[in-house]
């Protein structure tokens, strides 16, 4: 049976494609379809793209939604705010997460698992509850303000909750593990001989870090940054709970368009644009990494 091996191999390749088609491509096509329709008072609240008019198939594509999204500065501002917050969050996660991942990777082998467990532990509690917990911590009569006033550092409570700072804090807190885990994976795999070789060739510890450890952990940095940046850019729970009325993030706007305004086409257009915007950097990264691989 010469063909069976090839068929098996093709099936093996086909499976992830099927997965991708079923859970990404098909839903995405629906979203694009909705983005090209018009809002209507119906269930679902959109018009159909295809209509049979006698024997005539008519297709109505409505590009107004994209025009609206591109034309209204609200959406653009929200988008830019989201990208800015996602970017600073990613940077903060990297600055906080790298030393943590490095320390865990360099810890005694027996200590690594418990330390990693501590990083993952918050996941065992509901995300929503953890964000609510931050609300009680950050509010005017919350623990942070109480302690600051009690110690006499400040006289009147700081306004932290319902500001961009609170949103930033919430995002960094929530997504830090996503930065630490891939960083740990790369740093732990790093060949210790390379650092000894660098020291042997005259590199002081800091130079060895900059010239050897850091460049070799770039894949981990890239993976961690993507894992933080992408969900952070689309985040809507954290700005909803910790942000103020003026915190405009694209995820929150999307939510509002869908559920408050019931304007599915505009929401879908927003979602499509967000995806295109975020997919670009990923594809670029993928390509540069593919070139680098042996």
């Amino acid at each position: 049976m010469p063909g069976s091996a090839t068929i098996g191999r093709r099936l093996a390749i086909l499976l992830p494609f099927l997965w991708l088609a079923l859970f990404f491509a098909v839903p995405f096509i629906f979203v694009v379809k909705i983005s090209l329709s018009e809002a209507a008072f119906s269930i679902p609240p959109v018009t159909d793209l295809f209509a049979m008019d006698g024997g005539l198939l008519t297709i109505r594509l409505n590009f107004d939604n994209y025009g609206l999204v591109l034309g209204d500065s609200l959406y653009l501002t929200a988008l830019l705010t989201s990208l800015r917050l996602a970017f600073t969050s990613t940077l903060l996660c990297l600055l906080i997460g790298y030393p943590m991942a490095y320390a865990i990777a360099r810890a005694e082998p027996g200590m690594r698992m418990p330390l990693l467990l501590l990083v993952i532990l918050p996941f065992w509690t509901s995300f929503l509850i953890r964000v609510y917990a931050w609300m009680t911590l950050l509010q005017d009569q919350g623990m942070i303000n109480s302690i600051l006033i009690w110690t006499g550092i400040i006289d009147s409570p700081l306004r932290i909750l319902n500001t961009d700072i609170a949103v930033q804090l919430g995002i960094v807190y929530s997504y830090l593990p996503f930065m630490i885990l891939p960083l740990y994976a790369t740093l732990e795999r790093l060949d210790k001989d390379l650092l000894e070789a660098a020291a042997d060739l005259g590199a002081r510890p800091w130079t060895a870090f900059l010239r050897v450890t850091l460049p070799l952990s770039l894949p981990g940095i890239a993976a961690g940054s993507l894992l933080v940046f992408i969900p952070a850019a689309g985040e809507f729970v954290i700005p909803e709970l910790l942000g103020g009325p003026d915190t405009l993030m694209i995820g929150k706007i999307l939510w509002q368009e869908f559920f408050n305004n019931r304007d599915w086409p505009v929401a879908a257009a927003l979602a499509t644009m967000l995806l295109v915007l975020l997919a670009g950097p990923i594809l670029l990264l993928e390509r540069t990494q593919a070139e680098d691989k042996p």
Binding site: E196, A197, A198, A199, D200, L201, G202, V212, L216, P294
Partner: protein
Amino acid sequence: MTANPSRPAPKPGAGTDVLVRVQGVSKFFGDVTAVDGVSLDIRRGEFFSLLGGSGCGKTTLLRMLAGFEIPSEGSILIDGVDVARVPPYERPVNMMFQSYALFPHMTVEGNVSFGLEQEGVAKPERRRRVAEALELVQLGAYGKRRPHQLSGGQRQRVALARALVKRPKLLLLDEPLAALDRKLRERTQFELASIQEEVGITFVMVTHDQEEAMTMSTRLAVMHAGRIVQVGTPTEIYEFPANRLVGEFIGTINVFEGHLASVGAGASDIEVAGLGAIRLDHAIEGGVGAPLAVGIRPEKMRIARADAAEPVDGPAVNRLEGTIEDIAYLGDLSIFHVRLADGRRISVSRTNITRRRDDPLTWEDPVVVQWDAAVPVVLHA
């Protein structure tokens, strides 16, 4: 010590002034003593090997020379300077790692240039020296490649060039040939030795392979259980092993245990129960009756079929009778396992000097094994 007649002169090339002085160095890891009170002098220009089985402490000693481990006791002087607490990046020492430890994200040139950059060598000078070092290891055309694009042998040479380019006072090699296949290893042995002669840098190599150590080194130290058992030239170590352990670790040796029967200026006899006397051509220290072990290398014995053996006049001295139990034909030589009268087995080798011998030896042949009185060596416990 045995009052032995002629000790071979050391190989030429090695100077006599000491570059590295290891004084009473010990290293403990918790309860484990990895290196146990080692003292050792390594001379300038030498190709020195640390030879021993795994866990004998040779790698730990090398890592202390490199600065990756700090001695628990004792001192290490390089060119008269105590370096025991000098970090690796400040030592005039470079190391070639067993894993090569090439930086995968740098080109071959980048790897070789790295050490010079740390020294602050100016760019034109750096480029010249990198090119020179790559030329020395015959990799001039490979500068732009990445380590993963090279074969194992090429990687090994990049690692060598990277260590040599710094012109260290001392170059350390940790099992430099372990990852190469047999043919390449043999060729590289000679290459490494000739490069060492060319650059004149002192090499210290760690190896578990006695053949490698013998081929390449001017002197070597045999280590066991954290201690140095014997230091000497390859010939000294092979021909005059200090004790049974060295004799058995380096090559093959037939050991006979007996007691001293008579001592004379030109002949000492050792009586081996059940086999007869083994005669040595010099006086041996120790009283008559003292227990002794002597060793005889397989290639220093002659083997012949019993009916074709040299005739004996007088008592049978340095002569054993037995039966061939097994034959290993290695091409250049054959090794015969001979079962002696008392049941013990010895190895005797014979060079195959012709294509087909007129006195072929085969299984179960009764044979006579003989040797000269200059051949046996006394092995201390």
